[in-house]
């Protein structure tokens, strides 16, 4: 297990997830509220920037589309970009368009079992169409951003977008 820091251990009783608008207004869920939302199971291939891929991985979680519509109903305005913020301080940035339309989830089960802490549990962002560093472990918040804000690896030489099909690993890759 490779990680940028110690494994955070987040007790479910104090875990929460937030969708935060650029104006500060937010929608937020406790673990019980979160896991009561309609969930989806998805089977995807994942692509790691260090050149390995894992095929047909099975995840269960809440689609970001579900969270976005719940947030909109509470008056949280969206913005063109999001920044994922995580326990331990990790961040990653994405265009809003890349987490909508059935492309992204907050996943809390892997292979039929609760996601263990070493793999990002209680919950991680899952965005399989991009390199796996975008699928941020220990995610706690998606923050809407009016302008794109490079995250942890994006600000240290890695590609800002990270499309595996175009092999966009590093800054400057076409």
């Amino acid at each position: 297990m490779l990680s940028a820091g110690p494994t955070p251990r987040s007790p479910l009783a104090s875990w929460d997830f937030t969708l935060r608008g650029a104006d500060g207004r937010n929608a937020h869920w406790t673990w019980d509220e979160f896991t009561a939302l309609p969930r989806q199971t998805t089977t995807k291939d994942i692509h790691c920037v260090t050149k390995w891929s894992k095929f047909d991985t099975v995840w269960e979680g809440i689609s970001i589309d579900t969270l976005l519509s719940e947030a909109a109903a509470k008056g949280v305005a969206s913005s063109p970009y999001v920044l994922a913020r995580c326990d331990g301080g990790y961040t990653t940035n994405l265009p809003l368009a890349d987490v909508m339309g059935g492309k992204a989830w907050i996943a809390f089960m892997y292979d039929g079992k609760p996601l263990p802490p070493e793999h990002g549990g209680p919950a991680r962002l899952l965005v399989p169409h991009l390199y796996f560093w975008k699928s941020a472990k220990w995610v706690r918040e998606l923050r809407f951003m009016e302008s794109d804000s490079p995250g942890f690896w994006e600000s240290l030489g890695y590609h800002n977008y990270g499309d595996p099909w175009r092999e966009q690993r590093y800054a400057g890759d076409e």
Binding site: S3, G5, P6, T50, D87, W153, L156, Y158
Partner: protein, 98 residues
């Protein structure tokens, strides 16, 4: 995200220490940096870089303060560059050569 207060760190069998970063640091600095002293921007404590905790990550080297867990330095190698972010250190002091 609130910063965690200083606490006794759990033993994490995966982590190593500043010695493991000495090689890549030698691509950026001529004097050995693991014997240098860095002041952590998170907690203000000055420590020898050799005692920073290094978490193995295929994408880069992340060096954290053993007291407060803040990231003191992070290094990534791409095909064309070595990137360093040392903003987690407010100062670094290297001994003058004898």
């Amino acid at each position: 995200m609130k910063k965690r207060p200083t606490r006794k760190p759990r033993i994490d069998a995966q982590r190593v220490d500043g010695n493991a970063a000495a090689g890549i640091l030698s691509e950026l600095f001529v004097p050995d940096l693991t014997a240098a002293r860095a002041r952590c921007a998170g907690c203000g404590v000055t420590r020898t870089i050799g005692v920073l905790l290094v978490y193995a990550h295929g994408m880069g080297t992340v060096m954290r303060c053993p007291g407060c867990d803040s990231v003191v330095m992070r290094i990534a190698r791409t095909p064309t560059h070595v990137w360093l972010d040392a903003t987690g250190a407010t100062s670094i002091a290297v001994s003058a050569p004898r």
